[in-house]
């Protein structure tokens, strides 16, 4: 049974055409002049149409966790807003079953000066749920949010983690049939993120909850989603298996950011107004820069980057390639708060006896996230190329190490009498 059916959905926003460009951005003087221009004439400059969504169609079965990926401004949030009835569509039709609960922004609808308990009731009321039902679920909500001691504390005194836990807990306890989650799990500590994802999975399998999960966290998307759609410039670009769509999306993002194979030393994407990747080196355990690590020693990929703007969180990741094949991707497990105008150094260990005796290249991605999920990515494709050399002739009768990796695995060989009997 289809839990949600979206047919030919389009949304047009009318955006006022900006006045003739004022050179070098709008200054205070310009705004002052604007203020004193003939009032109503300002409205006559007309608007142009921006298609946030264009002819998007898809269906979701009950109990599915559908991932939605796409760049900033691709229309993901607009789609969720239309499904949650906040914004009406321009054309098209959506049909669904049951209650839709949206987590477009954690804590939207929370009154800071009210207590956690009052906010639970307030949220229930906003979602059209009787007070009695909310009262029944209060214990569950409080328990999942782990705020038992603070039920009667105004939420303005909550830590951001507690706030987040409460908001999520309220949402999943509002008996949703469809849950819309927009980049909400990007905040909060890892342990809670885990619990949220687990809970989402659990509800989808046990109660048939359908989840639309918008995220830039590809790792989370591939882990919890059953299916992924990729929205590109308001159109549905791909729809399919998480592995396939995520890989394709990531490759496209790499290409976009890396600008192809030949990235100059100062490629445009390695620096933006938010930060810059300074350099990427391979270093030994004592910190020396090395070009060709021996297989028998740990090696470290060192990513040096700096930030420019305030209030960002950062996550470094790298892809290790060998002969054009992605060997693996590794990313920092959580987003770290970084200070503005500061230099950082990320170090990731590649353990000894993992890589094969061959050449590798490393592409680096540093994601800077401002506020509620405004993502700025810095990337350097083929930031580093190195060759691993082995311990020549150390073992008698050793076979040539072949393949993209050659980890040292534990082997055992024992005599087994019963195996022979057969």
């Amino acid at each position: 049974m289809k839990s949600l059916l979206v047919e030919g959905l389009s949304k047009v926003y009318r955006v006022p055409i900006p006045r003739e460009s004022t050179k070098g951005g709008e200054s205070r003087v310009d705004r002052f002049r604007e203020f004193f221009s003939i009032p109503l004439a300002r409205d006559l400059q007309g608007t142009h149409e921006v298609w946030a969504l264009r002819d998007v169609s898809f269906g979701v079965d009950g109990g599915t966790v559908l991932g939605i990926v796409g760049g900033n401004g691709a229309g993901k949030t607009t789609l969720l807003k239309i499904i949650s009835k906040v914004v009406p569509p321009t054309s098209g039709r959506i049909q669904g079953h049951g209650r839709v609960i949206s987590l477009l922004e954690l804590g939207a609808g929370f009154d800071d000066e009210a207590t956690a308990r009052e906010n639970v009731f307030m949220n229930a009321a906003i979602n059209g749920i009787p007070r009695a039902v909310a009262l029944e679920r209060l214990d569950d909500i409080v328990e999942f949010a782990e705020i038992q001691r603070f039920v009667d504390t105004p939420v303005q005194f909550f830590s951001s983690g507690m706030y987040l836990r409460l908001a999520f807990s309220v949402a999943i306890n509002m008996q949703p049939s469809i849950l819309l989650a927009d980049e909400i799990l990007a905040v909060g500590d890892l342990a809670f993120q885990e619990r949220c994802l687990e809970k989402v999975r659990e509800l989808s399998t046990q109660t048939g909850l359908t989840v639309l999960f918008v995220s830039h966290d590809m790792e989370a998307v591939s882990r919890i989603c059953d299916r992924v759609i990729w929205i590109k410039d308001g159109r549905l670009d791909r729809d399919g298996d998480p592995e396939d769509v995520v890989t394709e999306y990531q490759n496209a993002t790499w290409d976009l950011l890396g600008g192809g194979e030949n990235v100059g030393a100062r490629g445009s994407s390695r620096a933006s107004k938010y930060g810059e990747i300074v350099d990427v080196k391979l270093v030994s355990s004592d910190g020396r820069e090395i070009g060709a690590p021996p297989r028998s020693e740990d090696a470290y990929v060192r990513i040096r980057f700096r930030t420019y703007r305030a209030k960002t969180r950062a996550r470094c990741a790298f892809d290790l390639y060998s002969k054009g094949t992605l060997v693996f991707r590794s990313a920092q497990p959580d987003l770290c708060q970084v200070a503005p105008d500061t230099a950082y150094e990320a170090l990731v260990k590649i353990p000894a006896h993992l890589l094969s005796e061959t050449s590798y290249s490393v592409s680096v991605l540093v994601t800077l996230i401002r506020g509620e999920g405004e993502v700025h990515a810095l990337a350097v494709k083929k930031a580093l190329t190195f060759m691993v050399y082995g311990e020549a002739g150390s073992e008698a009768g050793s076979l040539r190490r072949t393949g993209v990796i050659s980890p040292v695995l534990e082997w055992s060989l024992e005599e087994r009498a019963h195996a022979v009997r057969a």
Binding site: S84, T90, Q95, G96, N127, Q175, S177
Partner: protein, 294 residues
């Protein structure tokens, strides 16, 4: 074993509920049903509106009393004491209290109703609920003013009973007309507010304009003077201000001095009804478009 979906939630019935989202907006019937479904929300917004009036003030509810009584005291001093306006019977202060009651309810509520959509911008752009609840529940602060005014009214009546030995207001069936006036005043507030709240979402000029326009409206409403002081030749014009009928109806019910004619009441009632119908139509049509621009 995974439990059946129906067993998981207590109100399993709603899970079968089919809904459809289309560009066409819902009709009035559907809206009314929705308003009922979300009835719990009324109280929250009403209480919130009241709370936000005096949030972070030290004097709290004292402001409420001060803001009601101070203007009446001053107006009474100027119009009654200095200019000696003839009330046509009862003491001027009492006449003034009766005149302002419905007006203050209208004026105070209209300002909060106008801002209701704008002030809940964060909520309205993130969560869906029937937006009609916002302007409708924003009359709550006005009702609080009304309560204070009614207390002042009773106090004034008691005061004159002891001073003059006369009950200027007595318990009689005509008081029902005053209650009707209060109700009409509320309806008219919402009717006008349906227009202003949507427009305010787009043009913040509305509130600016309203602030300066309201005193003019007040002087054109027979609050400080009996309607009979308006020259007979232009008195019919006053009927086109629905507040005239409302204010006069309240005075007629309490003091028995109001000047009510059938044509004037009919005109006002028609105007109120038209504003309300057109306002509802306008709100439903424009609400969504306004929210895009909030």
């Amino acid at each position: 074993m995974p439990s059946a979906p129906e067993a998981a939630w207590p109100d399993a019935g709603t899970r079968a509920d089919l809904w459809v989202i289309e560009p066409r907006q819902h009709g009035v019937l559907e809206r009314t049903r929705e308003l009922w479904h979300y009835r719990h929300l009324w109280w929250y917004f009403a209480l919130e509106a009241i709370e936000s009036m005096y949030r972070r003030t030290k004097l709290g509810w004292l402001w409420l009393i001060f803001r009601v009584t101070a203007p009446i005291g001053l107006q009474s001093l100027i119009f009654g004491g200095v200019l000696r306006v003839d009330s046509g019977g009862p003491p001027y202060f009492l006449f003034l209290v009766c005149g302002t009651t419905t007006w203050i309810l209208f004026e105070r509520s209209l300002l909060t109703v106008t801002r209701s959509l704008e002030q809940h911008r964060k909520l309205v752009t993130k969560i869906y609920f029937p937006r009609l609840i916002l302007p409708m529940s924003a009359v709550a602060p006005g009702l609080l003013y009304l309560a204070v005014l009614l207390v002042v009214l009773v106090g004034t009546v008691l005061f004159y009973r002891y001073q003059d030995g006369v009950w200027y207001v007595t318990l009689r069936p005509e008081l029902l007309a005053s209650a009707a006036a209060i109700l009409l005043s509320l309806i008219f507030t919402v009717a006008v507010g349906l227009w202003t709240s949507v427009l305010q979402a787009r043009y913040r000029d509305i509130r600016q304009g309203l602030r300066y326009f309201m005193p003019f409206w007040m002087y054109f409403t027979p609050i400080f003077y009996p309607v009979t002081t308006i020259p007979e030749s232009v008195r019919w014009l006053a009927a086109f201000n629905p507040m005239t009928a409302i204010v006069e109806m309240f005075k007629w019910g309490t003091l028995g001095t109001g000047h009510l004619t059938v044509p004037s009441i009919a005109t006002s009632l028609t105007l109120i009804a038209l504003t309300m119908i057109a306002g509802t139509w306008f709100f439903i049509r424009e609400e969504a478009a306004s929210i895009d621009q909030l």
